[in-house]
Amino acid sequence: MVAFVLELENFQGPFDVLLELLGKRQLNITDVSLAEVTSEYLEYIAKIDLPIEDMNWFLFVAAKLALDKSQLILRIVPEDDEMEINIAESLKSYQQIKYLALGLSARSKKPLYSSIGRAPKHNRTLLVSRSELDVIFKSLMNYYQKLPKTKNIKSNKLAIDSFKRRFYNHISNMQEFSAQGVMAKSSTRPEAIVYFLTLLELLKQGRVSNSNQKFLLEVV
């Protein structure tokens, strides 16, 4: 996140440093224009997407500083210096917490992982290997050849080629497709078989890749 950096008349630097200097009394609150600080803060939040809780913290600090400053200007001496102590302590605590949060954030980049019972599938492992795909393809081809020769299929090889072409044209226009979706396009059983065989052929040739590792099993 981009730090909130101030360009005031008598202070230039990060807001955190300003608070630190005020907390350590190295800078007098009466020398700081809170109106300018607020104005620059509004410009700052207009440029970035700041979480609402961070904005709340600025309001809290600004309100405390405004109270402190007004008491000093009006020479109102608090009955005890509780408010001053609170500002200094609060700023110190908050700075410390921000520092610790940074440490935790750095640590969380190297977490400890534990068994999650059942490991997720390694995304680079294919459920169906190339040799298994070969076996499936050959057995389906075998099955296809043993199918009763219907008049349509027997007499019209061109129709099969046309189905294949139509199928390929259909999926080539898509980045992704589901096996079920394209199979649903077939109107007859032989057509569905041709679609499926074409799909296997394309998988084997590496012209399509299988991102849904379940579909082969589902279809088979």
């Binding site: 979480p51 809780e53 600090v61 609060s90 917490i97 949060a101 935790l104 640590r107 068994s115």
Partner: protein, 156 residues
């Protein structure tokens, strides 16, 4: 069978943290002995990239932080990323636990309700008696520590 092997076996079998009291009862040992057992087991486990962590109430067998990038690459996973307010609240709880919501709000100067709910949902903190919050074993896994003593400047 020695206690060390028994402890590792029990932890290895469970994907969830095991309640320390159950281990103490099963082995018939006290907390100090269990701490020693954890220490000696961790020495042996280091060679195989594992580590036993404990938040006092529970124990869990995890993979050493040195292998986190391997796990992330292999399983295509990413570590949990917390928002700045959530990290601040978590830091306050980690270093000042047990601590109540009012004290957390006082330190931050704003309400921490949303962040607390978020951290509770992620099981990084839990509520204990008198509505105070403490960190959990899940928190220790997130920040890669096996015991809360490993948090630097904890008592400052």
């Amino acid at each position: 069978m020695d206690h060390q092997a028994k402890l590792v076996s029990l932890l290895f079998y469970s994907a969830e943290p095991i309640i320390t009291a159950q281990i103490l009862k099963t082995f018939g040992i006290d907390k100090t002995e269990l701490k020693k057992l954890q220490h000696s087991a961790n020495k042996s486990l280091k060679t195989v990239g594992l580590i036993i962590i404990t938040d006092g109430d529970t124990m869990q067998l995890t993979i050493e932080s040195g292998y986190s990038s391997l796990i992330e690459e292999f399983y295509d996973t990413t570590p949990e990323v917390l928002s700045q307010p959530a990290l601040e609240v978590l830091s306050i709880i980690a270093y000042k636990q047990p601590i109540g919501k009012d004290d957390i709000d006082e330190i931050r100067g704003v309400s921490s309700e949303q962040s607390l709910r978020n951290l509770l949902n992620k099981a990084l903190i839990k509520k204990v008696t008198q509505a105070k919050f403490v960190t959990t074993a899940e928190f220790m896994k997130l920040v890669g520590i096996s015991s809360l003593d490993q948090l630097q400047d904890k008592n400052e």
